[in-house]
Amino acid sequence: MSSEKKRHVIPGEVITSGPYRAEQNTIQLGENIVSTIVGLSDVHDGSVRVIPLTGGYMPQDDDLVIGKIVSHSSLSWTADINSCYVGMLPASDVFGRDYSSSSDDMTAKLAKGDLIAARIVNSDKTRDPLITVSGRELGKIDSGELVKISPNKVPRLIGKRGSMIQMIESSTNSQITIGQNGLLVVSSEDSNGLLKAIRAIELIEEQAHVANLTDQVKDMLESKSE
């Protein structure tokens, strides 16, 4: 089966009909495969999906996310992960299986308002997703600036095989931790570099749908202006 040209679609619009598999953001209604959101339809190898242009973050297993601690019980912390579901970080993830932690122990490790880099462990929708901070490059975030973008712009920010994000990091001397949930932490020794990196990110968020975005970003990074 051939691939069709990507099309702009809105909810309810028929993308195609016939023997296709209805995948992300589409449903099968009779013979037709219909879009359920505003986005770009992608027909490929017998399946149809729509790449979203708007919408919030839905937790997926193994996603790296940036979260903000909002509360805790004696057994776990609750983190705002910029989603309709909150992330649950079990105390055992930080203290080990058998440690019985007091409230002071909990707050000393992670307090309300602290930012963390975490991974989604279990995104079953019937309960709040479990997250973990044990792992390479996970844990409390002590420095850097938090930037928020639309979660569906994250793929554009990363670029093909990471090309876009690497271009920004190397030309501004900064490190950018990207959460799939649209939250990013940008840090740099160079305060000008930091500003430039943030402006590049803002440019991508604004112009994500434009064809020559990579050139626009490259020009912006190379210009000498503030």
């Binding site: 909810p11 028929v14 959101i37 505003v38 708007t54 919408g55 919030g56 929708k125 112009q207």
Partner: protein
Amino acid sequence: MGGRDTDIVLLDENGIRCDGRKVNETRKVTIKAGVLKNANGSAYIEFGDNKILVGVYGPRDVHPKHMSDTDTGILRCRYHMAPFSVGERKNPAPSRREIEISKVIKEALEPAVMLKEFPRTAVDVYMEVLQADGGTRCAALTGASVALADAGIPMRDLVAGCAAGKAADAVILDVNNEEDQAGQADLPIGYMPNLKKITLLQLDGVLTPEEYKQCIEIGIDGCNQVYEIQKKALQDKFFSNGEKQ
């Protein structure tokens, strides 16, 4: 529905209505998507002299928790009129009319919104009427669909709203305020244009079976026209290449 005595000529001998329209013409409709900074999705609609601002939040956590459903998300709708939106200042507290309209609009949107995708959450739709001139519930419903799409809430179809009615013994499309006060029937309709299903329907007034059929037919036609404006609003925001949103 008034059937009130009026000096206004609702329909003259040339088939022209009190605001210059023909019997099968809707008022001017414009919609802009994404007008609020904080809401997840939003739309501003002008339907004739109706001015309505809609904001959507969600899917999001439900408080109190007992209101949430483990199997599905829930839809909550609030239709509310600003005190300055009508001729005589309205008390800001929700009236019974607003509460009923909120429910009717919720039930008009539910068939379209795919709530099972988000168990234990709520999608909140807030419709604020800033200026009212007859047919606010259809206009609010129309704006709500655009705001939901703007927020990225998955839907099977959009829902478009338009009222049909009867004034001066003629079946008319898109009843304005004077026609609502002094006319003979008002039939607001909510319609899913691709699935071809009516999801909002009410009647105030008296129609013969033939007039009822005509009203539904002309009303669906009106909804289809309104749907084109909804599409345009979303296209203008999301698909205008290279232009500033």
